[in-house]
Amino acid sequence: MSATVNVSGSIRRRLLLQLMGSAALLAALLFLAVLGFVRNVAEESHDRILLASATSILESVSVQSGEITADIPYAALSMLGNVSDDRVFYQIATPAGVLTGYADLPVAGPPVQPGQPLFQTARYKAESIRSVTLFRRLSVEGAPVAVQVSVAQTRSGQAALLAQLSWSALYLGVGFFVLASGLAFWSTQSSITPLRSLTEAISRRGPKDLRPVSRPVPSEMSPLVSSLNSFISRLQTSLARSEDFIAEAAHRVRTPLATVRAQAEVTLMRIENENKRTSLREMIRAIDESSRAAGQLLDHAMVSFRTDSLELEDVNLTELARDLAERLQPVAELKDMSLHFEGQETIRLPGDGILLQNAVRNILDNAIKYSGRDSEVWIRAVCRGGCACIEIEDQAGGFKCEDTEALTRRFVRGANARNTTGSGLGLTIAREVAEAHGGKLIIENSQTGTGACVTLCFPLH
């Protein structure tokens, strides 16, 4: 009983995708944050060294015999060379004009407070430069003169450093993402573990095991498990009820019928009027038919019930067939028929003994029922082509061009069944049992052509 489950999505996949999406978002944010941070640090450190250079140049500006003069320290420019191989420009200017350096260097805008550096980014000689400008007031012959020093450096070294740091930041981001994804995979895996172990525990159960689930489960799963438990308990009640009903029904139907039949037999012996006798015989025949039909219907209900939850045990098929042959021997003898059992080897297979017995008995019943007096019925237990087979062959004329498949449908009876009691359920039961065991029912005419041969085949694994 494996109905297809309507599957829509996967908790694990959804969880994994959500976690990985968050990880990707965080990794991107991390990358941008680190990038912004290193850009700041790189710019700040560049600004600082420019400022140091400008400060030391400004310190070297002095007034000598009424003239402003500058003696740029070697370190002022060489320190810029230690940072990167970038081009260096500078300018020392007074309100009167440029004292020395690069006269056309773009200098930061409005004057600021003395000692306050003014940073700017500009273009000079076809390159982007970062510059700092500092002011200082000197006294020349009693008059204050503002001296302005600018130091600039191209930024290709900084750009190269930033590019390198960007790669590091990118690796950091990617590394974070990979690690987080790994952890996400692990955590989704572990979060569905209770679900998986519950599933395993339930599928491992035998068909009759209808105990409620008692293993500890996470709180999120407790509504599901309690629903499942209540479902199981309802199922158990329902099953028990059906089982009781079948047993009860069998008892309640068969017993009164048997009583009525016995009464009819007794009455038949007492009555001499031929017309009445005929009516009574008809009545007995009807009772037989009802009794048999009721029996088969209950058998069928039982078979359906058992095949739904098939419990396999080791069954000795040969023994089972021989038993049945012995048990039905008296019935056969009543009709002056001979019932032969053939079976040498012991054939064992996993199966439900009661069901198998029921199936074989139904076929055998049919064979005996439709056979005439003095005919013979064979029951054989054989192994053939990897299958365990029970063959029942009779001399009742066989099936005449009928759809043998149709005979196994419920309540369908053969052409020769008009004068015989029966419900048309015998072969249906046999087929359902065969199929529940993974086998099949084969209906054909016997090789001699005098009767039918019905075979139950079970594959041996």
């Binding site: 003696d71 420019l77 420009f89």
Partner: protein, 344 residues
Amino acid sequence: MRNALLSLALTFLTLATLAAAGFEVEERHWIGPQDGTPLRIISTTDTAILAPLIESFLQKHPGTAVDYTVANSSEVMKAVLKGEEQFDVALSSAMDLQTKLANDGFTRPHQSAFTALIPDWGKWRDHVFAFSLEPASVVVSAAGFRGRDIPRTRQDLIALMRAEPERFLGKVGTYDVALSGLGYLFATQDARTSETYWRLMEVTGSLEPVLYCCSASMIEDIAVGEILIAYNVLGSYARARQDLKDKIIVIDPEDYTHLMMRSAVLLSGGGQPDLAQRFVDHLAYAAWSQPPGAEYPFHPPSAEFIGAANSKRLIQLGPGLLVYQDAEKRRRFMAEWFNAIRKQ
């Protein structure tokens, strides 16, 4: 055989064209086929010294010629700044001027497998490429110092000149820092390195020193006994003069000896940028491959540096060199220097 080839290939240009250049040219040669594509090089290095390197370059690149102009380093700078004549490559011993050219945007960058051979301290910004390492040495007359102690340090020189002023009067020579860019580089580096330099210049100044434009003439004058001591001479030139081996003594001062790097830059105004790059590659390979090419005229730079004692001080390429190119700084330094050297 090679000399014959060279003399055939060399063609002196007329002085008329030299004057038109707007800067002072010492010599100018056309090397290679007359109709070859010219690579224009302006250099402070004498033609004869670099000729073998140029010839091997021309062999590798048939159909090209080299238009080789020699000028002193200040004139090289002037030629590039004025830009009246376009050159492809500038070779100079004045590291500060080469650095200034590269800093002020007159050069092109270049990177290749050959420039990768140059150690990091031998290049700046992939614009300046060193191809030699040469010491600033003291050269003294062998005859003048026969039987006497050879000065080993600047202190020795000072003591020597103080002890016998009359013997060295008018017999001491050094670069004229106003004329020679290399002389100015050596002087400024000396001044930066040690106070001893100024004492040495003071003493020298009291002896009516002779000021020179170039190392070659200082070496010649030592050899003929015109002067006894020449300070800050290119040791590489002096040692290369095998013919004067017995007449001059080359000393690398033990207190410190500056190592100068002769360097090449690719000028952005040049008309043959590809050829210029290949020439720089050729120079770099000749100088820095192990061992250097047979046509390489200088002492192998890597060996020079590896074998250097602690007293050897490499002049670092970098923006620090721009400081002494500052007009104010230069004016002050010149004033101070001439004040020391012209003290009568």
